[in-house]
């Protein structure tokens, strides 16, 4: 053992905390031959003795009785407060049910709010028809309402426009919205319709989440605008058409109905 080794164990040696007897023996042997380490160990022992005396001198020290009395008073007050609080507060089981009921009510309210919001966004927008792909729907008559297809049907229609017909950008004459009736034909009134003809590019059609189908009447010349044959003898008559209008008010596709 050298002086550095002794420095690390001097405290434990002086305090009687050395567990390793062999190490303790080596340390004592070293102090016998090293005056400096002997002094160091003596200092540590003197300190240990001084601390022991100090601890013994204060060993009987304890808090005066008034501290205990004061604490017991506080304890009683706290207990009274806790009892009063327990009397006014419902039991834990009841509170749990109360919290669950409040939580459930909140969830129901949120669901109702979200469904109403979703319905509001899917309802037709009371706005003026806009130009779309060369087709300009007419201003709706005050006595007439645009036809609205169910949302599922609208989506089906939107996905149905697998036609490769080209879209004309020429603006046809002003059509007028006349029909409110749904697309489903009745037994005695069978309608024949063309495929939906896109009025915009295909990407904008595939991005259509929801929309509405509006039944309109157009001049028969509109058939020619979409490359369809037209009976010139009936040129003065109008032709029915279903226009798919997106939520943004833009017409996306059209089909002609007979």
């Amino acid at each position: 053992m050298n002086c550095d080794d002794l420095e690390t164990v001097a405290s434990d040696l002086a305090r009687g905390q050395m567990v390793d007897a062999a190490l303790s023996e080596k340390a004592l042997t070293h102090t016998a031959s090293c005056a400096r380490c002997a002094t160091r160990l003596a200092d540590e022992r003197e300190l240990t003795e001084g601390l022991r005396q100090f601890a013994a001198a204060t060993a009987t020290g304890e808090a005066p009785p008034r501290v205990e009395a004061s604490l017991i008073e506080v304890f009683r007050r706290e207990r009274t407060k806790a009892v009063a609080s327990a009397a006014t507060t419902p039991p834990l089981q009841t509170r749990r049910w109360l919290y669950l009921a409040i939580g459930a009510a909140a969830v129901v309210a949120i669901v109702i709010f979200l469904s109403l919001s979703a319905r509001r966004t899917s309802e037709p927008q009371p706005q003026a028809p806009q130009k779309a792909g060369g087709t300009v729907p007419a201003q709706p008559d005050s006595t007439q309402q645009p036809a609205v297809a169910p949302a599922s049907q609208e989506k089906k229609i939107a996905n149905h426009h697998a036609t490769k017909r080209s879209v004309r950008t020429t603006e046809p004459k002003r059509p007028t919205v006349v029909a409110v009736d749904r697309v489903e034909p009745t037994a005695g009134d069978v309608e024949i319709a063309t495929d939906f003809i896109p009025l915009m590019n295909r990407e904008s059609l595939t991005q259509l989440d929801s929309g509405q189908v509006v039944r309109v009447e157009l001049p028969r010349s509109a058939l020619m605008s979409f490359g369809l044959p037209m009976n010139m003898e009936r040129a003065n008559e109008r032709v029915k058409a279903d226009v798919v209008v997106g939520n943004d008010g833009l017409a996306r596709a059209i089909r002609f109905v007979r």
Partner: protein, 203 residues
């Protein structure tokens, strides 16, 4: 059969006054002495003891027996309060005169009984040790108080202080080295004083 600290604590949490009294009487002396050794002030020691047990009665549920003994937990609370008080007092302007302060910092319990010459020597040593401990920085002081004066193991001291066992060991080593220096300096001063005034020896 005596109840364990944990049993008493459970009863305290249930509002048992007798259990609280029993727990207080079992643990108050250690907490009080720790605060006294750390602060050197009876007033602070009393206040801290009271605060520690108020915390215990209000937040008994915070004690986790897996993290150490209840005694170590109480010492830990006491330590925090003492350090706060020491810091507050350090910032306050000392208005009390030195005589009053001397009385406050020297509790009667620190004065031992015995023969006059024996007491004189012992009291000088005790006083020197007490002053040297109080002159240590708090983080060294607390390990000396816990490990040397309260004979706590390194593990318990580490639990009370909230640090690693190795940190306690190294702080204790350093603290004892500082104490040795301070006590040596105090002894040298005493010797010089005696040589300068030999009449004191015969008084």
């Amino acid at each position: 059969m005596t109840s364990s600290d944990l049993d008493l604590l459970r009863l305290v949490m249930a509002g048992d006054e007798a259990a609280f009294t029993a727990l207080y009487r079992r643990r108050q002396a250690g907490v009080y002495r720790f605060a006294l050794h750390m602060s050197g002030s009876q007033t602070i020691a009393e206040d801290v003891t009271q605060e520690v047990f108020i915390v215990l009665m209000r937040e008994a549920g915070r004690y986790d027996s897996n993290r150490g003994s209840l005694a170590a937990y109480l010492y830990g609370i006491a330590r925090n309060h003492v350090l706060r008080r020491i810091e507050q007092d350090r910032l306050l302007v000392q208005l009390a005169d030195s005589a009053e302060e001397g009385d406050a910092l020297t509790p009667a319990s620190m004065i031992t009984e015995g023969g006059p010459l024996d007491d004189l020597t012992r009291n000088e040593t005790v006083e020197a040790v007490r002053n040297s401990i109080l002159a240590l920085p708090p983080h060294y002081r607390e390990v000396i108080v816990l490990c040397d004066l309260h004979e706590m193991s390194y593990t318990e001291a580490a639990s009370a202080v909230g640090c690693a066992v190795g940190t306690v060991r190294s702080r204790l080593h350093r603290a004892r080295a500082l104490l040795v220096e301070k006590l040596r300096a105090a002894r040298d001063r005493n010797r010089a004083s005696e040589e300068a005034n030999p009449a004191r020896c015969f008084a």
